[in-house]
């Protein structure tokens, strides 16, 4: 996978030109500062043009950028200290989900999140960030531990979906997702869920029930991946781009629908362009929302959490019962 997307190419070319020009200026000592300023303005305009008008499919691509920070990058960038804890105490330590205790601005929190690899070797160890049931069981175990010790939970979500494998099915992928969703809903600690990249289906929702649900600017969250949606609609995964549009999976829509609470803006051009800046941004949002929900008495917070999901859904009452009307 190339790290430069097709639609970024004009910009990247321009940026390369600017770089060249700078080198030229330094090497030759000739004054091209006016030309440089002009080019830089042009690049600035282009950047806004490109990144502020991404199509839903481009959003999905951005969320999958190979240089995009992964969960453990955010752990390093945002928390002062972190001790990873392993295992579901039942079957396996699933490296596709990491979890542990970190310190956020002086206070311990429990952090969980799917973890993609940065290279092939790590990707194999981490199953490309696709969790098995034991990954969710680990997450649930650590979340219950957090509850026992009154620690807030931060769920960093970046997952295409739960792994669709034979063993995963055998060991109850569906059942464990259901258990995660149910039990997370009632935990008596503040929970912040942040979709940092991909938010795919039940595999994301399994660790996505919280008091505040935030989403990165270039993240997506959907009931089904665009590829699979296209496959079902048109038997053609390559039409994922169209499906992405239909699914309304971008933060703008999801904010509008009331599914998420806020959008965490990224450095222009995406989180991968500046990990540190992204970390600072995430930290600021975490600080704000954690402070906010810590003030709410815990029983009220849980009631609000449940009420939030209770309200989601659009339907109408039908005037006349079909059965009486249509029976033969």
């Amino acid at each position: 996978m190339s790290t430069v997307f097709e639609w970024e190419k004009p910009l990247v070319e321009l940026e390369d030109k600017i770089k060249e020009l700078r080198t030229f200026i330094t090497d030759q000592g000739i004054d091209f500062s006016q030309e440089l300023t002009e080019l830089e303005h042009k690049a600035e305009r282009l950047r806004k043009e490109i990144y502020e008008k991404l199509t839903p499919w481009q959003q999905v691509m951005m969320a999958r950028h190979p240089k995009r920070p992964t969960t453990d990058d955010y752990v390093k960038l945002v928390f002062d200290d972190f001790i990873e804890l392993h295992g579901d105490r039942t079957y396996r330590d699933d490296q596709a989900i990491i979890g542990g205790i970190g310190v956020f601005e002086g206070e311990p929190v429990t952090i969980i999140g799917p973890q993609k690899g940065r290279d092939t070797k790590e990707n194999i160890a981490r199953n490309f960030g696709l969790p098995h049931p034991e990954g969710y069981r680990k997450a649930l175990r650590l979340m219950k531990q957090a509850e026992r010790f009154h620690r807030p939970i931060i769920a960093l979500i970046d997952v295409v979906g739960a792994y669709p494998g034979i063993e995963a099915e055998q060991r109850g992928q569906g059942l464990v997702i259901a258990e995660c969703i149910e039990q997370m809903s009632f935990l008596k600690v503040p929970i912040i869920c942040i979709i940092t990249g991909e938010g795919g289906s039940g595999g994301a929702l399994a660790i996505g029930v919280g008091d505040r649900i935030l989403m990165f600017e270039h993240a997506w969250y959907s009931v089904i991946s665009p590829e699979m949606c296209a496959n079902i609609l048109w038997k053609d995964s390559s039409r994922a781009s169209e499906a992405a549009s239909l699914l309304k999976l971008t933060p703008t829509y999801l904010l509008q629908f009331g599914i998420i609470d806020d959008v965490i803006t990224e450095p222009l051009g995406g989180a991968h362009r500046d990990h540190n800046a992204m970390g600072l941004q995430l930290k600021a949002f975490l600080r704000r929302y954690l402070t906010e929900i810590r003030k709410i008495p815990i029983d009220e917070l849980v009631a609000q959490r449940l009420n939030r999901f209770r309200q989601i859904g659009q339907f109408q009452e039908r005037a006349l019962p079909n059965l009486e009307k249509d029976g033969d």
Binding site: Y163, Q173, E182, I259, R310
Partner: protein
């Protein structure tokens, strides 16, 4: 008596395949329902290929007398097998909207409502089973593959809330192919949380929930309310799982085990309490209710 009990049974599929496996369900595939052929005189067993006279099927509750294969049946048909006569009272009917503005969803809904004579993929209300008052919900596969959109999510949630309010048990028959109602996008996904939470509150109230999985129970239906029963039963040879078998095969490039994602496989893997035939189902439910309602 409600007219539903007099409506003719509709046979779900008439196929000539003799495969030993339950029919493969496409993920999130709402088209399947179209294949129903309501007025055939004969049905062919999907498992053993025996031809069965439709009149005979009524007596056997749509189970092949030769091999025990359980045909998929409409929710309204199942009501007849489970409820004490004249006791079923439906909840206020709800119909779906089109929250994403998904192209063609409204017209397809309209058409499906006409074809199936259902409001959405769930039939739900209160009833009595062997005398025990209960909430009963049944997912119908013929409506968008039995997928859970806002209506199914809301109706189930109301079911559990009704149970809490009136201290009644809840019984839900699941049978949804892909689980999610793709056309309702994120709203569909959120119904998983909503229903799981409804179950959670119901359990907190100390009440009793039986979840019964019928062919097929997949995806978001399996990964929410239907996995959370105090007791989880299944009909024989139902397809039960999270990811569809085709997806698993494509992802893993492995040959699937012969019994992959069947009820029997789920039982072996510790995910079910029991497999119960359609013929025994009402009595087993009655027994379980009697143990839990003293």
């Amino acid at each position: 008596m409600l007219r539903v009990f007099r409506s003719k049974p509709k046979y779900v599929t008439v196929r000539s395949s003799a495969q030993q496996q339950p029919s493969k369900i496409d993920d999130d595939q709402p088209e399947r329902a179209k294949k129903e052929v309501p007025d055939n005189l004969w049905a062919r067993c999907e498992k053993c290929s025996t031809l069965i006279y439709n009149k005979e099927m009524e007596k056997t509750k749509h189970v092949c007398a030769n091999c025990g294969y359980h045909f998929r049946i409409p929710a309204l048909e199942r009501l007849r097998f489970i409820c004490d006569e004249d006791t079923y009272k439906p909840f206020t009917p709800l119909v779906a909207t089109n929250p994403l503005g998904f192209p063609g969803y409204e017209s397809k809904l309209e058409q499906t409502r006409i074809n199936t004579r259902l409001d959405d993929a769930i039939v739900i209300g209160t009833t009595r089973i062997h005398g025990y008052a209960t909430v009963l919900g049944i997912i119908d596969f013929s409506f968008f593959g039995g997928s859970m959109g806002s209506v199914v999510g809301e109706q189930l949630t109301r079911g559990f809330e009704y149970g809490i309010k009136h201290r009644l048990p809840v019984i839900v028959f699941s049978g949804g192919g892909g689980g999610a109602r793709m056309q309702e996008g994120i709203f569909s996904l959120m119904q998983m949380a909503k229903t799981a939470q409804a179950v959670g509150k119901f359990k907190e109230a100390g009440l009793f929930y039986i979840s019964i999985l019928t062919h097929p129970t997949m995806g978001g239906i399996y990964a929410s309310f239907s996995s959370l029963g105090d007791i989880i039963l299944a009909e024989p040879n139902a397809l039960i799982g999270f990811a569809g078998p085709r997806i698993v095969e494509e992802t893993t490039r492995q040959k699937l085990p012969a019994d992959f994602q069947t009820s029997e496989y789920a039982l072996h893997n510790g995910m079910l309490d029991r497999i119960v035939t359609r013929g025994d189902m009402k009595d087993v439910i009655g027994k379980l209710l009697s143990y839990h309602l003293r």
